[in-house]
């Protein structure tokens, strides 16, 4: 077996250029399958990471039904529902009052966009109106200064907390704490800057928000709309039970299709489901090139068998059994394919490294194993016909072949 291996390797090396061209199909096939799936899985891992940072016992109440039954996002109806101002502040109070055993805390979140100005810097910012417990529920600590307080909210104080990106944009190297930033027509004192978090699903990154007390926002900026209610469920309670309890409370006020209570896993499942399909789709498309690569190998191996008819005849005359010849050609095809797969893998790995700064591409062990497995299988499968042809040659006919 070891010797047959060496014979096959020598046959590949004797025709270097042809061997490389033969491998090209598999190189491209494996390379694209691995690279594209690495993009898909990298994206999935990235999303999961972002969600994990938020904790698993967080519930969101959003208007409309953005997550339809069959997974995936809802249709037109849900979009319309989502724009209706159905959520009200008092619902949060009712939920907290009626479900003390299951819900620990909750906040209201409203988002608006407005112009902000500090000295010469003027640009639009996303305002996130909320209460001081945002710090705990979204575990967003301040890096400098402090969060606005409960009293700030009740008193409608003109204070803001900046996300690090906004702070950088407006203040650069200057310490923003205590500085006044103009939003709309009023000035607000910066009391804190949050630490870098990244993420922020379905909107800007949490780092680029300007956080403002909810009551201040309602008063100053003419905002009525509530984007969502975020609830922190009791860690010891099953999240499904918590959802049920919250839904029951809300159904006293709202219709079934006017709101949705979702938890992290539902959102996560929907997104990873989509990304999974995306990955499979990409992999499937590139797998076609792998099949084409396999046909290329079969083609060249058939030519090679014809070309080497005399050699095969000679080997048989000198004592090679049909099985030895079969094995030799099978190993040759599998090796061609495997080496092609290896080169494709290296190219895909380098490609994913090149993508890293822009995209969370990730070559997984599964992709590597699959690349090896599939390319060997392709070689064996498409090498079988030529190898069989070689093995069945009669030594006399083969020796006479010109």
């Amino acid at each position: 077996m070891r010797d047959t291996f060496i014979v096959a390797i020598k046959a590949i090396l004797v025709n270097k250029v042809r061997s490389l061209l033969t491998m090209l199909g598999v190189i491209i096939g494996v390379g694209s399958v691995v690279l594209l799936t690495s993009i898909g899985t990298g994206l999935q891992a990235y999303v999961e990471e972002q969600f994990a940072a938020l904790g698993t016992n967080t519930l969101y109440i959003v208007p409309g039904t953005p997550f339809s039954e069959g997974g995936g996002f809802g249709g037109q109806a849900s979009v319309i529902e989502g724009t209706k101002p159905v959520l009200k502040k008092q619902y949060l109070r009712e939920i907290l009052r009626n479900n003390r055993e299951v819900i620990n805390d909750g906040l209201v979140m409203a988002v608006a966009i407005n112009k902000a100005k500090y000295q010469n810097t003027e640009q639009k910012v996303s305002l996130l109106g909320t209460t001081s417990n945002f710090e705990n529920i979204y575990s967003t600590k301040t890096n400098k200064g402090e969060w606005f307080s409960k009293i700030d909210n009740e008193k409608k104080s003109a204070v803001v907390v900046l996300g690090p990106t906004v702070a950088e944009e407006f203040f650069g190297n200057i310490d923003p704490i205590g500085k006044k930033i103009k939003i709309g027509s009023k000035s607000y004192r910066v009391v804190g800057v949050t630490e870098k978090k990244g993420g922020g699903f379905g909107g800007p990154s949490f780092d680029s928000y300007v956080y403002i007390p909810l009551e201040t926002m309602y008063d100053d900026l003419d905002v009525q709309f509530i984007d969502n209610l975020t609830l922190k469920a009791n860690e010891e309670v099953d999240i499904k039970v918590a959802i049920k309890a919250v839904e029951e409370t809300l159904l006293k006020e709202l219709d079934e299709d006017e709101f949705t209570v979702v938890d992290q896993t539902q959102i996560l499942e929907t997104i990873t489901g989509i990304l999974g399909m995306f990955t499979i789709g990409l992999g499937g498309i590139s797998a076609i090139s792998l099949v084409v690569g396999g046909i290329g190998i079969m083609n060249i191996m058939l030519v090679s068998v014809t070309e080497r008819t005399r050699e095969i005849g000679l080997r048989k005359a000198l004592g090679a059994t049909p099985n030895t010849i079969l094995t030799q050609f099978l190993i040759e095809a599998a090796l061609l394919s495997l080496i092609g797969g290896l080169i494709g893998l290296i190219i895909a790995y380098l490609g994913s490294l090149a993508l890293q700064p822009y995209f969370p591409a990730k070559v997984t062990m599964n992709a590597v194993l699959m690349a090896f497995g599939v390319s060997t299988a392709v070689g064996l499968f498409f090498g079988a016909a030529p190898a069989k042809k070689a093995a069945s040659l009669s030594p006399i006919e083969a020796l006479r072949y010109e």
Binding site: L314, R315, A317, L318, G319, T321, N323, L399
Partner: protein, 242 residues
């Protein structure tokens, strides 16, 4: 008795015609013999070579090698038998291109599952024996025709076979290289090797000790060789019988 050929026939069917390439051939070959097989083209001498060298199976008859009936051997058994007992020298040399002389000679040992160290040692010895000890790593393209045929002879000898079959061994060579090859074959026979050589050159045949002439698939002459003149005479007699 080394090789006993008993009423061996080989028939080919082409369309509705049956071609009797070999017809009830009997021949006994003792160890150490050097036989020249001659005959006009189509006489069956090539088929004879294929059948007795285990490349082809006879249609009928019996072949006994070293007392063993090998007639009904299957393909795998015949592969092994060729590997162990038979050495081939072809008119076209049939060396593997782009492969060193050493690796070419080692080929039968590879299929005999001899380990690599032993393979190299024995192949080197054989190449030295045919005078190519300094050409171990040359590929066929880097060797002259005569040298290539000597590599082929080394390959035929390397697994120490009982019989060497040579098909026009000097047929593709200039006269000087041809003479060298004939010298080597004569020497091998003197050392006790059994050689069966197909040729149409009386000059080449004269190095053998026994002459077998084929015609129409049958042996029509089986005589001791006394010289080139006698070979020419015997061949002429066969032709004149028509």
């Amino acid at each position: 008795m080394l090789l006993k050929i008993n009423k061996v026939s080989k028939h080919y069917k082409i369309g509705d015609n049956i071609i009797k390439a070999l017809n009830n051939v009997d021949l006994n070959i003792e160890e150490g013999e050097f036989i020249a097989v001659m005959g006009p083209s189509g006489s069956g001498k090539s088929t004879f070579l294929q059948v007795v060298s285990m490349l082809a199976q006879p249609s009928s008859g019996q072949i006994t090698l070293k007392g063993k009936d090998v007639t009904e051997y299957n393909e795998i058994e015949r592969s092994k038998l060729r590997n162990q007992e038979i050495g081939f020298i072809f008119q076209q040399f049939n060396l593997l291109p782009r492969t060193s002389a050493l690796d070419n000679v080692a080929l039968p040992l590879l299929y005999a599952k001899v380990n690599i160290k032993e393979r190299e040692k024995r192949s080197k010895e054989m190449l030295e024996k045919v005078g190519l000890g300094d050409r171990l790593n040359n590929t066929p393209a880097q060797l002259s025709g005569g040298q290539q045929q000597r590599v082929a002879i080394a390959r035929a000898l390397v697994n120490n076979p009982s019989i060497i079959f040579a098909d026009e061994p000097a047929g593709n060579l200039d006269s000087k290289s041809g003479e060298e090859i004939k010298k080597i074959l004569t020497k091998l026979n003197k050392e006790g090797k059994t050689i069966i050589m197909v040729t149409h050159e009386p000059d080449d045949a004269s190095i053998a000790k026994r002459l077998v002439i084929f015609k129409d698939g049958e042996i029509v002459n089986d005589s001791k060789i006394k010289g080139q003149k006698q070979i020419e005479k015997n061949n002429k007699e066969v032709e004149d019988k028509n």
